[in-house]
């Protein structure tokens, strides 16, 4: 396999969720090398880690996000793809640390105070990370102070706030107001089942998305 074929195969593994050789999923790829082995092979072959990231991994996760938006795949397939992506990213870690491979930017994400639901937030975090962003996940039940502490450390970051309960939308509104009061220049994107475009405008956030791919599109547009 030449490097082009290797990257194409790696991209396929991420798109369809083939984590490593031992992984039973997808059945059609049973016994074949997965994202883990192929990334190692690409690096051994001397493929530039930037090419691995840009030409194989990000493109594959982009396809996954699009298929999810179009309801061609569902949450499980997306999570398996994200796992394959993570297996590949493990090999790229040293290059991120050395600065040879750069992320598109930083994205702070958390579920707002009063809400413990993290499924949607986790999906967004995985897809955004797969799109080449560094994700700082603050977890659930996050208050304004914790968001602002993270912004203090990462002033260039974009911030994502998630809420699942209609009754915690008020909490989202308060947190957005507090962050914007102190950091008017920080971009805030909101999402979650009860959140709408109209609500985003009402509370003074900058972006809204009803799915992970929309969040990626918003973030990518900021650095385009």
């Amino acid at each position: 396999m030449n490097s082009e074929e290797l990257l194409a195969k790696l991209s396929e593994c991420v798109e369809f969720g083939k984590v490593n050789k031992n992984a039973p999923f997808p059945p059609a790829m049973k016994g074949m090398d997965g994202a883990d082995e192929l990334t190692a092979q690409a690096l051994e072959m001397g493929v530039d880690p930037v090419d691995i990231l840009n030409n194989a991994l990000i493109g594959a996760m982009d396809k996954v996000g699009e298929k999810f938006s179009q309801k061609k795949i569902f949450v499980p397939q997306m999570l398996i793809s994200a796992k394959a992506m993570n297996a590949a990213m493990e090999h790229l870690k040293p290059y991120f640390q050395s600065g040879q491979v750069k992320r598109k930017g930083k994205f702070i994400i958390g579920t707002v105070a009063g809400d413990l639901h993290d499924i949607g937030k986790n999906l967004v975090a995985m897809i955004v990370e797969g799109a080449g962003w560094e994700v700082i996940d603050l977890g659930v039940d996050v208050n304004a102070a914790k968001f602002m502490q993270a912004i203090d450390t990462n002033p260039e970051a974009v911030v994502g706030l998630s809420a699942l309960l209609t009754t915690t939308m008020a909490s989202m509104k308060n947190i957005v107001a507090e962050i914007k009061g102190k950091y008017p220049e920080v971009k805030l994107i909101v999402g979650g089942a009860p959140v709408t475009e109209a609500f985003k405008t009402e509370i003074g956030a900058d972006g809204y998305s009803d799915d992970p791919q929309g969040a990626v599109s918003y973030l990518n547009a900021l650095v385009a």
């Binding site: 039973p24 999923f25 997808p26 059945p27 569902f74 949450v75 499980p76 999570l79 398996i80 994200a82 796992k83 993570n86 105070a113 009063g114 809400d115 413990l116 499924i119 986790n122 995985m126 039940d141 208050n143 699942l164 309960l165 209609t166 009754t167 915690t168 909490s171 089942a193 009860p194 959140v195 709408t196 609500f199």
Partner: protein
Amino acid sequence: MTDKTVNSDVNQWFAHNQGLVDILPEKVVVEPYRILKGMGMQPADADDYLLDLISNEMEACKKKLMPEAAFNVHFSHQFSPGKYHIKLDEITFKTSKIVYSFLKKSTYLVLFSCTCGPAIENYSRELMKEGNSLEGLIVDLIGSEMAEWITEEVHLFIEKAMEQFGWGVSNRYSPGYCNWPVSEQHKLFALLGENNCGIKLTPTSLMLPIKSVSGMLGIGPGLKRLAYKCNICDDKNCIMRGK
């Protein structure tokens, strides 16, 4: 039987039965389609790999399930129509239009708490931490469904008991849903007293263990459980809509 006699019989039933409810872990049932639904899927969308995964995690969760459920009745209450307030003993719940409308005809109000215990959510967290997000999500959804199953069991237990007195039960409602602020949890747990199943509240009124349900339901003659009337609720974005 006079109304007074019935009330006295109901009071006696609660005197003997309120408190902990026996829930056997092996009896807890979660249908796989509910887990698929939680992931936005229909049964036809699932392959054998996913169904096997759900089945395996279901078995693992059953072993980790430590169900607890309890309820208590409150005979003294006062409804304030314009404000949707319900005063129980000395505590005033600021409910919502929809919660109030379904509870206002209750003769008595019952508070309940139910939990799966901490082991299932800890297991989910471990799986996520290890990078097994799909397995972690499935376990999380199984935990939620198990908590709902336990709550339904308590609801049915009270409903069946009330039938013998010619009484019925209302729907059940929880702070955080149907526009009833989640901050009201603290009042609910103050009145649950020792019937709290060991559930602790965070300063933001969330329950720990997470896989817990608490709430209120009404009992009385003429009451019955109805479909959750999302069409009359003004919260068009509620995630429970049409559930």
